[in-house]
């Protein structure tokens, strides 16, 4: 004698309530696991960072109106163990190597990403890289990158199956000073790259 709509309503109400409780339970336990595993103070070591500077004139490398733009890539060694970030609510860990720096006049604060990686399994969570190449060409928003002190750090972000995105950073740092390039060398390189790269 129950009508279709009443049945539908009862079933969906129950489903929503159970779903919410289940989600809250999962979020709570995974958070507890992270805290008890000391996931928020993981150690890492960044070393052997060497910069490589290129000059580009394409818009997709930060050049405005075809003006030459310094692009930096780095090679680096990296050691970190991110296995503690994996629990039953971890879908994937996104880990990224960033550099913080100020511009010469100390009016602007910047943070850029050199390298990142998606880790979907606990088995791949131990990072042990030697002489790895950065994924991205990095340029500054207005100035050049040379002559600045870049503070490198490894961050992580847990993307869950359900619930909040969790962020944190590891304790290893490395300060990279990119030396100012020689004037003559710079000029030579500029003309060289202007020839090789197609006009934008």
């Amino acid at each position: 004698m129950f009508s279709l709509s009443q049945r539908f309503q009862t079933v969906s109400n129950t489903a929503v309530t159970v779903g919410l409780f289940l989600a809250a339970f999962i979020i709570g336990t995974s958070w507890f696991q992270l805290v008890s595993n000391h996931a928020f103070d993981l150690s890492s070591s960044i070393s052997n960072v060497t910069p490589k500077i290129n000059v580009r004139t394409s818009r997709y490398y930060g050049s405005v109106n075809g003006k030459a733009k310094e692009n930096a890539k780095v090679s680096f060694d990296l050691e970190a163990d991110l296995t503690k970030l994996f629990n039953w609510n971890t879908k994937q860990v996104f880990t990224y190597l960033t550099a913080e720096y100020e511009n010469v006049k100390h009016t602007r604060q910047n943070e850029v990403t050199f390298w990142d990686k998606i880790i979907t399994s606990k088995d791949d969570a131990v990072l042990n890289l030697t002489d790895a190449q950065s994924k991205y060409h990095v340029w500054d928003v207005q100035e050049k990158l040379t002559g600045k002190d870049l503070k490198l750090k490894l961050h992580w972000n847990i993307q869950p199956w359900v619930g909040p995105l969790v962020y944190g950073e590891t304790d290893g740092t490395f300060t990279l000073s990119i030396p100012e390039r020689e004037k003559t060398e710079k000029k030579a390189k500029e003309s060289e790259s202007a020839e090789s790269s197609s006009p934008n």
Partner: protein, 171 residues
């Protein structure tokens, strides 16, 4: 007469009985007062108008241009909802009928309740002099198997309860 109800759903049954009560008390010589219902409709529809205004404002002008107005409207909505809740909980108190007897000018107040999964229609009758009668009506006494309300049975039951209330008053 009217269509049958699902007798296994106590909410549908009570709704049907609530609709019948004004008819019954009309037959018993009472004149219904609509003050409470009208007030409830007034508050209720002002809530609906606030929500509609907020919706139209958002659609026509875009969210970012009307944030000030929206804050005002959401505030109004919250306050009105609170008033509505207060009204239902402390003023109306599930009153479904208020009426005055045309003979002796006595006022009757009828409140009804039901509990999920209990085949009982709980009725509270309140007289104007503080007399109070709480009775449970077993719904299978006034509904037949097919789900039709037996209006005469219900009328007689209500009439009896009213007599009991009057006797209480006299004692």
């Amino acid at each position: 007469m009217s269509s049958p109800v699902n007798v296994y759903s106590i909410s549908e049954v009570s709704q049907r009985l609530d609709e019948e009560i004004p008819v019954v008390f009309g037959r018993l010589g009472y004149k219904q007062s609509f003050k409470l219902i009208d007030l409830k409709l007034l508050i209720g529809y002002s809530i609906a108008i606030v929500a509609a205004a907020s919706f139209l404002l958002d659609k026509k002008l875009g969210h970012n241009n009307v944030i000030g107005y929206q804050k005002l409207l959401v505030g109004c909505y919250a306050v009105l909802s609170l008033i509505f809740w207060y009204f239902k909980k402390f003023v109306e108190k599930s009153t479904i009928y208020t009426g005055t007897n045309s003979n002796d000018q006595s006022v009757i107040n009828v409140r009804t309740l039901f509990k999920e999964a209990q085949p009982l229609y709980k009725v509270v009758l309140l007289g104007d002099d503080g007399a109070r009668l709480e009775v449970d009506l077993q719904i299978n006494k006034v509904f037949n198997e097919a789900g039709y309300l037996q209006t005469d049975l219900f009328f007689n039951w209500c009439k009896n309860q009213l007599t009991i209330l009057k006797e209480k008053k006299d004692n």
